[in-house]
Structures are given as structure tokens and as C-alpha cells.
Amino acid sequence: MSAPPKPVPLTTVESTETSDSGAQTLTLSVGPQHSGSGHMRLIVEVDGDIIVNVAPDPGYVHRGIEKIIELRNIIKSIPVIERPSIIDSSNLNHAWVRSIEEIQGVEVPRRGQYLRTLLNEMNRIMSHLYWLSIYGVFLGHTTMFMWPLGDRELFIDMAEKLTGARITYSYLVPGGVRRDLPPGFAEEAVKRTEYFEKRLKEYDRIFFNNPLFTSRAKGIGVLSKEKAIELGCTGPTLRGSGVDADLRKDEPYAAYPELDFEVSTRPDGDSFSRAMVHMDEMRESCKIIRQIVKKIPAGPIRRKAPIVLPRGVAYGRVESARGECSFYLIGEGGDKPYRARYITGSYRNMAAIPAVLLGNRLADMPTAWWSIDYWPVEADR
């Protein structure tokens, strides 16, 4: 990749620069007001309609969360920590409570661990469904916008029964979780996940086996295995390039060691593989949810943990929907951390944006770009 171009004034089109080959190139500013980019801007240089240079311009949603964490006590920080990826909130919350518990030395009861895992997996499905619906918008496939958002409500309803909120749960607290399973939850979960798995087959029929999608996704936006590792990608982006890396297996936490699931990898590294990894993960998550409601042990859900962060350093990480989410936390004895470093999956996958776009046609940009599942709010924090 050559050096990123100088940022151009907002929404300006320039045709001044000359690329190395001597041909005229055009610099486009895509976003932030653009149906295919959301809360960020991509500065794209095209030669004809081939993308020759890409510079992401993030920071439109930078809210200084790392600083805010230093100003709040560790419980009040939980809602703030969830906000970057509101559609995947409990996974981010899990990374936070794990790092706190590591410093405090608090053991979470087994039932609490299972409940955490349950909400995490439900969140993973919801997040992937949201991603899929936006993918539908990008490709002009209205059915694929409506269906996933409709089916997402299945899980939102369940999560609402469990936690009391639609998408922002604050359910995981140091020492355990806030609430126990509501009555009748297990049957409901089995029914809904089984229905949802049938729906996934229909998704395959209408979208993933549809030439409309395959011809625009297969072989587009290829990220090779070596490149993905070199750029430090994570999550479905990394697994879509054929690397078998999943913290749920590699560094098992919560109830994952006792559950039976597979890590999906696809070797090709194109947009299609990354999309299929998302689909496989939703299937696996359904399986995990059913196992959890069957195997969940009795007992307490929460152990008393102090609202104090003792002197010490901890590193807690989990596999969120978009990849590894981690906290590096330094406590100094008060109820606030001295410093918290917050790294999310999207932040790490940002490096892959130029890599998947370079050399493709401008018309393929939405397919390749969104297949990374880059959520700007999460990346900017």
C-alpha cells in the first residue's frame, strides 16, 4: 500500500493528481453522509473505476470513553463501556468484568458463568443479524434488510425477558450477573432457536445462493491468510481468511470449556467467506444456547464483589461478535481505575479496510467493505 493521500476538503471531488503509471486519478470522499458508510469517511482514489488508494478517516464517533472510565467508578462505567457496540453490548461488558475480577480475585459462581455465556451468544446472533441486514441495504436487497431485523426481534424479546432491556443490558456485574432466568425461558429459547435455524436455511436460499450476491462477493475483496495475520485482524475477518483463531476455544472463559461447538473458518478470504463465517457462527450460537439452557447448573448467580479496584494490573479479553475485545486495566486502590486501555474488534480490523478494497472496482466497494463488519462506533470508542 502506498502512502495515504492527503485528506481532501469535505465532499469535494478533485481530479488533479497523477498516479505512478501516469494516468489521471480521481479522489472521492465517501461519507460521512452516505448510505454505504455510516459514521465514518473513506477517502478513495480511483483510476477509472479501479480503487488505487484508500485512507479511512475515522473519529466521527470518538467520545473519549477511556477517559470517562477514569472518572466513574467501576460499576457506573458499565453502561459507558457497552455503548461502543450497542448491538453487541454484553460481550464488551464481559471483557470489562473479567478484567475487574482478575484484579479483585473474585470467582464467579458456575450458574453466573452460564448466564453470561447465554447472553453473550444471544448478542452474537443479534449483532450478526444487524450486520446482515445492513449488508442487504448495501446490496440493494430489501428482503435481506427486513428479514434479519425481524428475526433479530426474536432474540431481543428473549434478552428483554432475561435482563429488562432491549439492547443495553448492563447485565454482567463484577461477581456474576444481575438476574436469574425467568420462568419458561428454557422452552422459549429452544423454540425460538429452532425456528431461527429454519429461517437461516431460507436466508441461504434467497441471498447466499443467489447470483445477485455470489457474483458480487466471490473473489471480491480478498484478504490472504498471511496478510490478515500481518495486519492483526481478528474475529470473523481473520477466520474468513482461513485462520483458526477464536478465544472461546483458544483461551476458554466463562462456560465455554464445557460447551460443544465448532469454530468456523473459510479458506478463501473473500467477501463471500467472511459472510459465510458469520452465518456459521449464528448456527453454532443457536446450538450453544440450547446446550446452556439444558445444562445450566443450579446455585447462586452472583458472588459479592467490592466496588473497589485493588492495586494491580489485569488484562481481560473475550471474543466479541467482531473479534477480540480486551481491557488493560490498572487499579490503584480506589473505586476508579487509574487507566483502562480499551481495544475492540473493529478497531483492529480497520487496518484491513484498505487491504480488501485496493485493486477492486468502485462498485464492489460496499460488498468488500461491509464484509469486514466494521462498526465505526466501536472502533472510535
Binding site: 469535505l10 465532499t11 460521512p32 453522509q33 452516505h34 448510505s35 455510516g38 459514521h39 473519529g59 466521527y60 464517533v61 470518538h62 467520545r63 473519549g64 470513553i65 477517559k67 470517562i68 472518572l71 453502561p79 459507558v80 455503548r83 461502543p84 457496540s85 450497542i86 448491538i87 444487524y130 441486514s133 445492513i134 434488510f145 427486513m146 428479514w147 434479519p148 431485523l149 425481524g150 433479530r152 426481534e153 431481543i156 432491549r166 439492547i167 443495553t168 462506533v377
Partner: protein, 189 residues
């Protein structure tokens, strides 16, 4: 807090008034014909027709500012389906009538939002969605945000909540429609 480069939050007057330009030439012999036309439009059934058309074609522009966009997405999705209120998200600024400010406005985004607002054709409406867009909300003490959308654009309806439920957004749309229905044709925007 002052956003650098933002214009004042005053509504710009209706400079592009087709009736006024038309009536200008005639006003030599009819005096204040444009005033007459305005009065006729605003009292008669014409006003009802114009307001009816404006109420049910509120097209929001595609701009997302922060995490409330997840609930905006859910509201436009299958269960809540904002399109039955005539709300159809659209990419083109010139055809849109509505900005739904979905959450936290950072200083970097505030300039762009004002730019987008200025580019939209009259009449235009603004819904500030979420606590962040109302007053800074959860991030009120952050160094990089603007505490409330009213600091740089006029807001028609506020939707409290963090994030507001899709039902709350639906209610906001209905409130905005009611506001349009009651208002005068020449005083909107």
C-alpha cells in the same frame, strides 16, 4: 459550547419563495398580492393539502451519528416498519425533509451535520434522538462531544431514552406529523 465553523442556530428565512417571486411582478398593480396569496394558501383547503403531503412523506437523510442508529435500524425494520408513517431513509440530501440525529454528536460530526442541514431544501425538520442528542447524556463530561443538537441546528422533536425504544421513535414521528398538520405553510422549516 461553541462548535467551530457552525452557523448560528437561527432558522434561515424563506428566501426561495416561489409565490413571492411570482407575485413580485404583479405587485405593481395589485399592491401586496403575495401577501394575499399567502393568506389564501394558509387559510383555505390548500393548506390542508400541502400539510397532508408534507406529513406523510418525511424522508430522513442517511446520516448516523452514534449508537442510537441501532434502534433507528430496528425501527425501520420488519417489526416496527417506519415506512408505514411515510418515513423512507434516502441518500440524497435534496430530496430529504428530515434529519434524525441518532445519538452523540462529536465535534467532528457537528460541522458535517450543520453542513447537511444547510444543504437540505425547505421545509426541513429535525428529530434529536437519544439523551446524547438532547443534552450529552451518558457522555456529558466527555472532551469531544457537543452537548445537545440544539447548539447548532433547530430541533423540532426530542426523543428521550438511551437508546429510545423504536416505539418512542414512532411516537416522535407522529408528534412531528401533528406539528406539521397544525402549522402554517409558510412558517415551517
Amino acid at each position: 459550547m461553541v462548535v467551530e465553523g457552525s452557523l448560528s442556530a437561527q432558522r434561515t428565512a424563506q428566501e426561495e419563495d416561489p409565490v413571492a417571486t411570482l407575485a413580485e411582478g404583479l405587485s405593481i398593480w395589485v399592491g401586496k398580492l403575495s401577501d394575499l396569496v399567502k393568506r389564501v394558501v394558509d387559510t383555505g383547503p390548500i393548506r390542508n393539502v400541502i400539510n397532508w403531503a408534507r406529513m406523510y412523506s418525511l424522508w430522513p437523510v442517511n446520516i448516523t451519528t452514534a449508537c442510537c442508529s441501532a434502534e433507528f435500524g430496528a425501527a425501520s425494520g420488519a417489526r416496527h416498519d417506519l415506512e408505514r408513517f411515510g418515513v423512507l431513509p434516502i441518500g440524497s440530501l435534496r430530496q430529504s425533509d428530515l434529519i434524525v440525529i441518532e445519538g452523540t454528536i462529536t465535534k467532528k460530526m457537528a460541522k458535517r451535520l450543520r453542513m447537511i442541514y444547510d444543504q437540505m431544501a425547505l421545509p426541513r425538520y429535525v428529530i434529536a434522538m437519544g439523551d446524547c442528542a438532547m443534552s450529552g447524556g451518558l457522555f456529558h463530561d466527555s472532551y469531544s462531544i457537543v452537548n445537545g443538537a440544539h447548539e447548532f441546528v433547530p430541533v423540532d422533536v426530542y426523543v428521550p431514552g438511551c437508546p429510545p425504544r423504536p416505539e418512542a421513535l414512532e411516537q416522535a414521528i407522529i408528534m412531528l406529523q401533528e406539528k406539521i398538520r397544525r402549522s402554517k405553510v409558510y412558517e415551517q422549516g
